[in-house]
């Protein structure tokens, strides 16, 4: 699958124009802002215990045509954030807006048609496809449900074929069942199903983590190509930093429920402002680094039920100060569009050395 073949298969598709959404609200939401998370809190209630706050005060936005990479360790709340962003998990505070409208949490009623262009790609491609239905039918249903188009069978077959080819599969596989495919192929089908709804915004929750190495790169390239050509916005959640570095326009770093650093990917990578970001980047094994092992963070992610006082990162922070133990840091604008939640960060200064 090359970019040019993607482009040609896209040429026949009317690319959704998210910026010109009818009834787009003025005010806080800019014209290109598709998805906004505003001071979002997500808590999980537990019987007999204090609720676990999986996401705390998270604010981020995804604009049309950009990939926002969300990285962090396992259990840091990035998947919960992604699920809340599409309305699968109810926020306990704050809100999620899509094209300026509040994203209602999915209940028993069918999802409102305005929200159906906000879609999700799941981690496990086998689990996200119905094992007992032919993939072509699943994609055809997505076209009908997602776009509200009344298609006869012949038109649906043509659209399904176009979508399958768009994700790099043969149109002839439409009559097969998901178990007849490899993980990478299943993920392509899941992506085709999402594209069938003509989405404006896609939350990709660890879409490549369950795949083998060669499929990972292909799927990441496919997603990046789709964003480049159709202009949709994507929140790309991954713990694979090297992939995020390669495809994301902006990077959001999460630690233990909190967003600790946000900025343009290149800037964050070249001069990480937050000590946690530095530690994460330092933990990537590099070829040519001799026998040196990647630097590791001391300790483990704390027990979510008993979060540390002050800055949530302080027990593991190599640059901890007295203040960090008691006070909660706020976001510092270290550069244009670049924020770090750390006491050592200085406004306007790219990084604290």
């Amino acid at each position: 699958m090359t970019a040019s073949s993607l482009a040609s298969s896209f040429a026949s598709e009317p690319a959704p124009s998210p910026g010109s959404a009818p009834g787009g609200r003025m005010g806080t939401s800019g014209p290109g802002r598709l998805l906004e998370l505003d001071d979002l809190d997500v808590s999980y209630a537990r019987r007999g215990h204090a609720p676990v706050r999986a996401v705390i005060g998270a604010s981020l936005s995804v604009e049309a045509g950009e990939i926002v990479g969300l990285v962090g360790e396992s259990g840091c709340g990035k998947s919960t954030l992604g699920r809340a962003a599409v309305g699968l998990v109810p926020p306990s505070a704050g809100e999620v807006r899509y094209r300026g409208e509040r994203v209602e949490t999915l209940g028993r009623a069918a999802r409102s048609p305005e929200l159906r262009s906000l879609q999700m790609v799941f981690q496990d491609p086998y689990a996200s496809l119905n094992p007992r239905r032919r993939v072509g039918r699943q994609i055809a249903d997505a076209i009908r449900l997602g776009t509200g188009a009344k298609l006869d069978d012949e038109a649906a077959t043509r659209r399904v074929a176009a979508l399958l080819e768009r994700v790099g599969l043969s149109a002839a596989v439409a009559h097969r069942f998901p178990h007849e495919f490899s993980g990478g192929q299943c993920q392509r089908i899941a992506i085709a199903r999402v594209l069938a709804t003509e989405p404006s915004c896609v939350v990709a929750d660890e879409p490549i983590s369950a795949l083998d190495a060669s499929a990972q790169a292909q799927i990441a390239n496919l997603l990046a190509g789709i964003v480049a050509e159709s202009g949709l916005g994507m929140l790309f959640i991954s713990h694979d930093l090297s992939v995020v570095r390669k495809i994301a326009d902006r990077t959001v770093v999460m630690y233990f429920g909190r967003i600790v650093e946000t900025g343009a990917t290149e800037a964050v990578w070249s001069q990480p402002a937050h000590p946690y970001t530095r530690a994460l980047i330092g933990a990537i094994p590099r070829p040519g680094a001799g026998s040196a092992l990647p630097s590791e963070l001391p300790g483990d992610v704390p027990d979510p039920a008993r979060p540390p006082s002050g800055c949530r990162f302080h027990p593991r922070c190599p640059e901890v100060m007295e203040r960090c133990r008691t006070e909660d840091p706020v976001a510092i604008e270290v550069g244009p569009g670049w924020q770090s939640v750390c006491f050592r960060s200085q406004p306007g200064q790219a990084a604290v050395k």
């Binding site: 699958m1 999915l106 043969s170």
Partner: protein
């Protein structure tokens, strides 16, 4: 996977499934997965069922006499002329047993089908919606489960009046809860799966999700339960007739024939042969049902306790 497709560029093994241990086959599982021709009991069951179906279809051609014709000697023992003997008013027991297949088999199949549709619909709704809907449906099911099947069926049939149609209704009343319980469990397990979540994100309504997405995934175990249940239904229906609450004389129905035989104990053949007919049908359906259950995924098979 054909070669030459553009997706043959996928290399490497499939990614590991979530729980590799769950897919390990134990020795028993492998025995259960043997092809049908290596499962003698299942084959026997299928043969017996086919035989009875053929008998039911061609009863009028196969039977030497009409079922209700009183023509022969009274209480004649089995002989060349009267294969299974004659009953106390001179009817040919052999002919009556053959005609009995025309009642028991289709009625059992019909009532199992109706109980399956009602039970699995109610159970799926309970499992999918949960909450108060679930509580109401499943408490009613529990209420039915609390009685021994035949006792409740007796009460229902007696309340509705002694008729074959009412006996069928009574058996449906006692049979649907097992389908409800099974399908509720299957829906509960499936409704939180990601393919259901994906469908809801696409805008699928609750009913569409249940019918289009869930139904094909829960149908297998429910059909197995139905296969196991047909034998049970034959037995219950005959039992009600035996007790005088089902088929009424002179209808040639196995249960009521056994009942007549029980009143003429010296002429054992009057009750023995219809009894054997019931036995073979019930055994055959149980053999087939067991084999089908074993062929199911061992994890879901455990949910069908019969």
């Amino acid at each position: 996977m054909s070669t030459g497709d553009p997706f043959s560029l996928e290399v490497g093994p499939l990614p590991a499934q979530a729980d590799p241990g769950a897919d390990l086959l134990t020795r028993q599982d492998r025995a259960a997965l043997r092809p049908p021709w290596r499962q003698p009991l299942a084959l026997t069951g299928v043969a017996i069922i086919i035989t009875w179906i053929v008998i039911a279809i061609f009863a009028s051609e196969l039977a030497p006499h009409p079922p209700n014709l009183q023509f022969g000697p009274l209480n004649a023992s089995p002989s060349h002329a009267y294969l299974f003997g004659t009953d106390e008013i001179g009817r040919d027991v052999f002919s009556r047993v053959l005609y009995g297949a025309r009642l028991s088999l289709p009625l059992a199949a019909l009532l199992v089908a109706v109980a399956m549709v009602i039970g699995s619909t109610l159970g799926s709704v309970a499992g999918f919606f949960g909450g108060i809907v679930d509580a109401i449906i499943m408490r009613i099911a529990d209420l039915v489960f609390a009685f021994p099947g035949i006792i409740l069926a007796l009460a229902v049939a007696a309340a509705l009046g002694a008729q074959l149609r009412n006996a069928v209704l009574a058996v449906i009343v006692v049979s649907w809860p097992s389908y409800a319980r099974l399908s509720r469990g299957l829906v509960l397990a499936a409704r939180s799966s990601e393919y259901v979540t994906s469908a809801k994100l696409l805008g699928s309504s609750a009913w569409r999700t249940m019918w289009v997405e869930l139904r094909p995934n829960i149908a297998g175990p429910i059909f197995v339960l139905a296969a196991l249940d047909i034998g049970n239904a034959v037995l219950l229906l005959s039992g009600l007739s035996f007790l005088g609450l089902g088929a009424q004389p002179p209808t040639a129905e196995w249960g009521s024939m056994v009942s007549e035989g029980a009143q003429n104990f010296s002429s054992f053949w009057i009750g023995l042969f219809p009894g054997l007919a019931i036995l073979t049908v019930v055994l055959a359906f149980n053999f087939v049902g067991d084999a089908l259950r074993d062929m199911l995924d061992p994890r879901t098979a455990r949910m069908i306790r019969k």
